[in-house]
């Protein structure tokens, strides 16, 4: 029975290569990044003193953040592709597959992709780790005496970590897909509004609450610490935590946020369609909103954090190079994954809606109107996303600016926020445009 499910899983994969690509990329890049930095941590074993500390911190921080991001992105891609297969899973169950078998099918599919991607990622990480080490040594973060000394242990460990995280993500998505009674007729309705589960709200509130608490702690306590980096260590992650928390609440926030944006959208047919779709099928577009929020909050928060740091501590300390490298790696990693997720989420939702968009054409909508409505939806998502993301970024920027005696508003680098926002909006609208171009001719 189990072999049958595996066979089915492989065939089903061959049938939908597109859905596989996104998961594959997320796992591959995740393994590559975490693996590369893990080799640094392993190399610390043969290093001494300050060098060992630097290498361990680099490996641990990037590994920790990397795991969170990979979990988030794999969960979101697997979640999107699984939700779209409700009909197929319903069919399997009516012809006698147990929920357990259906879950196993999804798990096997994700597993096959993830293993292939993790193995390739680990091989690349072995090379990448060496290159990264050279870069760090030539940058003077560790002394010339320290050698790269990492075997297969660290990259394999990274690969296993990513696989474990992927398995958890697939398990959650599969459980959601097989909850409730079997029903073949996936009613394409607003009935699938996707009520928030209590644990989801709890996780979101926990993340947001933690981020806000750290922001308050920064202003009240760590701002007065003698170590200038104490404030950074408490406020640095707030923007990402609050951003991820808001992203978890994306379906609800999109429904709320779409209202005011609709007023600005006008009354054309495209605006009309786009506004109702974002309002009533927020659960579909939430998959896009989530990475947009995280991308904005992480990029604005961290870039402005680094900017304030460099302005207020021009000479820096012994650690500042390492810290800024870390900040930049984290922001780069978050941006890369979020960008992949935005593009992927659009491709997936448009593929899901192909039939519905064709229907509009039959009713007499021009291709221009159909594409326009999808791009307008992307616009609404982008606006709501950058507003929420910027709010989340404030939880890092404001406390840190206060801690470094610049006041509530930083003294410079204010252009960073609009620059990031412009980039994120361009990415969101651009990927919608790209995705719909192929679907509607």
């Amino acid at each position: 029975m189990s072999a049958a499910m595996s066979g089915l899983a492989l065939r089903s994969l061959r049938h939908r290569p597109r859905a596989a690509v996104a998961t594959f990329l997320a796992v591959l890049l995740g393994t590559l990044l975490i693996g590369s930095f893990a080799t640094l941590a392993e190399s610390s074993g043969s290093a001494s003193g300050a060098d060992a500390d630097t290498l361990v911190i680099l490996g641990a921080v990037v590994g920790g953040w990397g795991s969170v991001i990979v979990l988030f992105s794999v969960a979101s891609t697997v979640g999107i592709t699984t939700t779209q297969r409700a009909t197929e899973i319903g069919l399997l169950r009516t012809i006698g597959a147990t929920p357990r078998q259906a879950r196993r099918l999804i798990a096997r599919e994700t597993g096959a992709i993830a293993v292939a991607a993790a193995v390739l990622g680990a091989l690349l990480a072995a090379v990448g780790g060496r290159a990264l080490f050279e870069l760090i040594r030539s940058g003077g973060l560790v002394s010339e005496r320290t050698e790269h000394d990492a075997g297969p242990v660290s990259v394999a460990g990274a690969a296993l970590l990513v696989l474990l995280v992927s398995a958890v993500a697939a398990g959650v998505a599969a459980r959601r897909a097989t909850r409730g009674p079997a029903a073949v007729v996936a009613r394409e309705s607003a009935g699938e509004q996707g009520r928030m589960r209590w644990w989801r709200v709890a996780i979101a509130l926990l993340l947001i609450g933690y981020g806000l608490a750290m922001a308050v702690l920064t202003i009240t306590v760590t701002a007065h610490d003698t170590d200038p980096y104490a404030a950074m260590s408490t406020s640095g992650s707030s923007s990402i935590l609050v951003g991820v928390g808001l992203a978890v609440l994306a379906p609800v926030l999109l429904r709320w946020g779409a209202g005011p944006v609709r007023l600005l959208a006008g009354t054309s047919a495209t605006a009309h369609l786009a506004s109702y779709n974002t309002l009533r099928r927020a659960h579909l577009l939430a998959g896009v909103l989530a990475p947009v929020v995280v991308l904005t909050s992480a990029a604005v928060g961290t870039l402005m954090l680094v900017d304030i740091d460099q302005r207020t501590l021009p000479g820096g300390t012994a650690d500042s190079d390492t810290i800024n490298l870390l900040n930049n790696v984290v922001v780069g990693m978050v941006s890369l994954f979020a960008a992949i997720m935005v593009v992927n989420a659009f491709v997936a939702t448009i593929a899901h809606r192909r039939e519905e968009l064709h229907r509009l054409r039959l009713l007499g909508a021009t291709p221009h109107q159909v594409r326009g409505s999808v791009v307008a939806e992307a616009g609404v998502v982008a606006v709501v996303g950058v507003v929420l993301g910027t709010l989340a970024a404030l939880t890092t920027v404001v406390p840190f600016a206060v801690a470094r005696h610049e006041g509530v508003v930083p003294d410079g680098g204010l252009w960073l926020a609009p620059a990031v926002v412009a980039g994120v909006v361009a990415l969101t609208v651009g990927s919608a445009r790209g995705a719909v171009r192929g679907a509607v001719r």
Partner: protein, 246 residues
């Protein structure tokens, strides 16, 4: 205004090329007068769907002409065909084809929106009332039954008072009681509004609501029947091969 709502002349549609050529339509001539209800019947592969696609400008005929309201639309480009579908043709599909995120009243008003016109709320209300769904105006399709969804789709198709309403197996996904309601609504639009309806179906009961039945076999018109009854249509369907050889 032409007396003929829809006319096809020598309508031919072939697929493939060379030895693999398959003729879905092998030159049919049909004219549908205004204010009539016609059922087009035939076995699978008889060309019913191709006929509808060509009539609606969704597919281009290989040969022959399509005239909507007396205007030859055969050689129109995609842009003009789109406008044609929007303004002069109403569509009702087997699968309802409502936009899932628009309420009944918004779905009915959609063709006007797409045409960039103001939605005539009073007319939308009247049409929903006509199909018996005035009290469901603000429901989303997901909370309507199949028959209710199809009646919303008919109201939508009637919005622009099109030259012709094309219905593709409109009762194919409905149970018989609900199907009768839907057919009654179509019949009523012909009787009360003077609407022209062309319905493709394989159900003799559905066909009996029409003024006339046209039988297609192998891409040709194989026969016609005026004032059809379900029994007569069923009998004819069972002996279509005789029509062809005759």
């Amino acid at each position: 205004m032409s007396d003929t709502a829809l006319e096809v002349q020598d309508l031919t549609r072939t697929y493939g090329s060379g030895d693999n050529t398959v003729a879905a339509l092998a030159g049919i001539d049909l004219a549908f007068r205004r204010g009539t209800f016609t059922a087009v019947m035939g076995p699978s592969g008889s060309g019913k769907s191709t006929f509808l696609s060509c009539a609606a400008g969704l597919d281009r005929p290989t040969r022959g002409r399509v005239l909507v309201g007396g205007t030859d639309v055969t050689d129109w480009d995609e842009e003009r065909r789109t406008r044609l579908r929007r303004e002069r043709i109403g569509f009702v599909f087997q699968g309802f084809h409502l936009l899932p995120y628009l309420s009944a009243v918004e779905n009915v008003g959609l063709p006007s929106r797409l045409a960039g016109k103001r939605v005539d709320r009073e007319r939308v209300r009247q049409l929903l009332d006509r199909v018996g769904l005035a009290d469901r105006a603000h429901h989303l399709p997901g909370s309507l039954s199949g028959g209710q969804q199809q009646r919303v789709a008919i109201a939508r198709a009637l919005l622009t008072a099109p030259d012709v309403l094309l219905a593709d197996e409109p009762t194919g996904a409905l149970d018989s009681a609900t199907a009768r309601q839907v057919l009654g609504v179509l019949r009523g639009s012909v009787a009360d509004l003077g609407q022209t309806v062309v319905m493709v179906t394989h159900d003799p009961v559905a066909a009996s609501y029409a003024d006339e039945v046209v039988f297609l076999v192998d891409g040709r018109v194989a026969g016609r029947m005026a004032h059809p009854t379900a029994d007569a249509v069923a009998g004819q369907m069972a002996h279509l091969d005789e029509l062809v050889s005759a």
